[in-house]
């Protein structure tokens, strides 16, 4: 696995998940986790596309969340786990009980976002399949 590509992934995934870039230490941890967990796994296709086009990550994540095995989802899970176990990101990843009105608002807005991304994700994945990027 190319360290430069892993670095690009780590930055793109972190921006997607928590809206900010990871430290050098977290990037190194992500690279190490990839070496431990994905040694020998081919990362061309969807992951490569997502790395080159970070705007596509929410769409492809939403699409593959609904089924199918996906290296992209596995890699996002690894980044999520790394961020969740970093003090700097606790505020963004710990449990957050909300009063009912705010909870309802959050569910509606997140639900709408998921719906949009799922539709976009399926469309994009069909295009990628047509172009043999899968």
């Amino acid at each position: 696995m190319d360290p430069a590509e892993l670095r690009t992934e780590a930055i793109a995934f972190s921006r997607y998940l928590v809206g900010s870039e990871p430290s050098e230490e977290l990037i190194a941890r992500y690279c190490e986790a990839n070496r431990e967990l994905f040694a020998g796994e081919e990362d061309r296709g969807v992951v490569e596309f997502a790395r080159r086009h970070p705007w596509s990550i929410p769409l492809l994540d939403a699409r593959f969340a609904l089924g199918g095995t996906s290296l992209l989802r596995k890699k996002l899970l690894v980044m999520m786990a790394i961020l969740e176990t970093t003090p700097r990101f606790v505020e963004q990843t710990e449990q957050q009980p909300l009063p009912l009105p705010r909870l309802a608002l959050r569910l509606v807005s997140a639900g709408a976002s998921v719906a949009v991304h799922v539709v976009g994700g399926f469309a994009l994945s069909r295009i990628l399949a047509w172009r043999h990027v899968d």
């Binding site: 431990e36 969340a65 996002l76 003090p87 998921v114």
Partner: protein, 534 residues
Amino acid sequence: MSTEIADVIVVGSGASAVNAAFPLASAGRRVRMLDVGNRDETYDRIVPEASFSELRRTDPQQHRYLLGEHFEGIGWGHTGAGAQLTPPRQFVTRDADRLQPISSTSFFPLQSLAEGGLAGAWGAGSPAFSPPDFDGFPIGYDDLAPHYEAVAGRIGISGTRDDLWPFLGELESLLPPVDSDDNGRTILARYIANRQRAQRRGLYLGQPRLAMLSKPYRGREATHYRDMDFWSDAGRSVYRPRWTVDELRSFETFEFVGRQLVVAFEEREHEVVVTARHADTGKTETHRARHVILGAGTLGSTRIALRSLAAFGRRVPIVCNPHTYLALLNLNQLGKDSLRDARHSLAQLCVVYAPEGSARPFTVGHFYSYRSLLLFRLMKDSPLPFREGLQILRALSPSFGVLILQHADRPTPAKYCELREDDRFVVEYALSEGEQATNDRIESNIVRALRGLRCVRMMTMRPGHAASTHFAGTLPMSDRDEPLTTARDGRLRGTERVYVVDGSVFPSLPSKGLTFTMMANADRVAAGLARRLA
């Protein structure tokens, strides 16, 4: 001492083995415990003594134990046996598949070669069997009652006299109950307010019996409510059998011999010769004793017994509580905008479904909140994209819970073990359609009754046969003098000096964790042997 003849060799160091060794060593008998005895050599040193929420806010090294030094805490497989093992608990199953392989198409159990056995990672649920649970056993509740008290006095069990008392068995030696967390309290409050209606539906709720200390006890600390029980054993407030191993080491007449994988025994005129393989070198070693107690876990002891008795190709039964996880949303907690950090991580409530009262078979479950296992583990199983999933789960997970139901199990021809001539240990297990239909019906009724307490099922997960780790019934206790059974006193039929004390001897399993009863039975068998050796 290993060249001397011991009074008793105890094979294994898990919950049953240590509670068999204790009364023997206390009575001055020379006891030698043989086990591989793997220990955690990595995480015990690096998990700080602080609360889960504090560690998450302050410890830059938390990934080392929360994710693991080799990221072994990140998994994406199906939620099955062992899914609950965090990196600091994974030593419990280390080497077991390599040294004790099982051949199966349907049964994928966790086995342990660790000092303290599988209970090094147990949930500490400690209900006693009540009289109806002994249906089909040659012994009854009265035979075990004093031994329940002896074990409870040894390990410390918290609980209280509440609506569950008739179901969880009489026990005088109880410590005060540990506190439930917000999730557990709100459900319990709803139950108390609607008790009659819930009970008409067969639902009873109360405090779980837990081998977790609510006050300092025998050199161990009360729980500090740090929510770290899945990650560390700080203060030793949760009972682990290795605490008893440590206690046993203080007896001059006790010896622990590690790295020993016992493979067979051979009875001679006045002694038993036990053959073991060194876990690292593979070298064969022998030990001699007047008596042997097998407490290597159901699968381990059965393998040793079948091999020693040359019972190759003979099928023996096996039973195992089928587990179901009901993921619940607790609407009583939803919308409450604060959470108490101070909590323990184990079962917050015990749930009993008994539509016809305590004299009939009933179903027991334990309710866990989802707090200290990190959200990414939940997100793996959710059909949501990670970013939105994170936002939704952060808000909803304080109201999440998992009710772990363990259904009763009885032997059938479709559940068996067999040691082949080539030493392959085969286990197959299948529930009949009738058994599955019964379990499904019970689950539906429980879900309906829980809805009345404003707990809504979100998902049902069946983690697969063997996930409960409650294996039993392979060398069942019986009054009938048949081969590959055990007598009331624990003696393995076909032998004069070999006893079995683990789950192997339970002819069937009620809907209840068996560990506490297994410990009590081990105490009973060993106390009887100690008297005869006096």
